[in-house]
């Protein structure tokens, strides 16, 4: 696997569905990761077009200390296997990687507790956190996990983060309008930059 960069300790790999239905949850995760002082990474970030997708994912996984994996998307049938595959890759990196990669921390999310047992029972024993498809719960789960795993005392509380996220999301259409963008047209790097700058301007 490629060598990890210096910011390994702040990189968070986000492995989740990228469809419209999941979009509010995805955005809530990205916002929480950024407000907590970490850097979100995912397969949608800009990269070399000539790179094979799985290589790109492997590279990102190798560069992230933290991994958030949502395995809730099991419908419609046949289910999408990308999320469990990438969770497996991350588990493999944690097990067989360098000393630094073996310090990886992973969060597995699902809609409800114990649902995963029906279709991916081999991960039994890991901490699987339910979010019930609600952004508020996902914010809390991600925030609490990052706080515990990074031993950081400076991450704001879940309710505070959620309020900030709602405020950001409410103002996003106006912000995009000012930038002559359509909200749906924002790419992942643009979205991350927008959150970062918005937080700089709106944090007391």
């Amino acid at each position: 696997m490629p060598k990890s960069p210096d910011d390994f300790k702040i990189n968070v790999f986000i492995n989740c569905p990228f469809d419209t239905e999941y979009k509010p949850l995805f955005e809530a995760i990205v916002f929480t990761v950024q407000i907590a002082g970490f850097r979100p990474r995912c397969a949608r970030e800009a990269s070399n077009a000539g790179q094979v997708r799985i290589d790109k994912i492997l590279e990102i996984i190798s560069e992230c200390k933290y991994g958030i994996h949502d395995i809730s998307r099991t419908e419609p049938l046949p289910p999408r296997f990308n999320m469990p595959l990438e969770l497996g890759l991350d588990l493999g990196c944690k097990r067989f990687g360098t000393a630094r990669q073996r310090s990886k921390r992973l969060l597995v999310l699902d809609r409800t507790p114990n649902r995963y047992v029906k279709f991916i029972s081999d991960i039994r024993g890991q901490d699987i956190e339910p979010h019930n498809g609600r952004p508020k719960q996902i914010v809390r789960r991600v925030r609490d996990w990052l706080s515990v795993e990074s031993r950081s005392a400076t991450i704001p509380g879940g309710s505070y983060i959620y309020d900030k996220y709602r405020s950001f999301r409410r103002g996003l259409p106006d912000l995009c309008d000012e930038l002559n963008y359509n909200v749906d047209e924002l790419t992942f790097p643009d979205f991350c930059n927008t959150i970062r700058v918005w937080l700089e301007e709106n944090t007391v």
Partner: protein
């Protein structure tokens, strides 16, 4: 099988419905630096490449025309209703932090203005005479 392959190809791009051409410009496929103009066209709006006399595409709203023109990397020149150049934007692939910061400040400025006028509105209800004089 081909359907499955297409679905896989779209997997990472579903979320924001980003035009494929725009993604291409991010990933280095499309690196041409051409200028595109968003111009009034009868009652509608059109996108025209600089140096070309032909219209590339026509849209019912200016917003749609701007969105379409954004899919090309290069300069985006937005015209006003009478044809005058209104705004020039460089579409480099990523929004610069300075540009975002400026937009955040403009929007929050507008918000605080609206907040003040709303407060004025509340005061107006209580004392209509005062409000009249302030409008005049």
């Amino acid at each position: 099988l081909s359907d499955l392959a297409n679905k896989d190809e779209c997997y990472f791009d579903e979320c924001y419905n980003i035009p494929r051409s725009r993604i291409g410009s991010f990933e280095g496929i499309k690196m041409s630096k051409k200028s595109y103009h968003v111009v009034p066209y009868s009652d509608r709006w059109a996108v025209r490449q600089e140096g070309s006399t032909r219209i590339s595409s026509v849209f019912s709203t200016k917003r749609e025309a701007i969105d379409a023109a954004r899919s090309h990397a290069g300069d985006l020149i937005i015209h006003g209703p009478t044809g005058q150049i209104f705004q020039k934007i460089t579409v480099s692939g990523e929004l610069s932090p300075d540009l975002i910061r400026k937009a955040v400040r403009t929007v929050s400025g507008k918000r605080s203005m609206t907040g003040r006028s709303l407060k004025k509105g509340v005061a107006t209800k209580k004392s209509p005479h005062k409000a009249k004089s302030s409008v005049n």
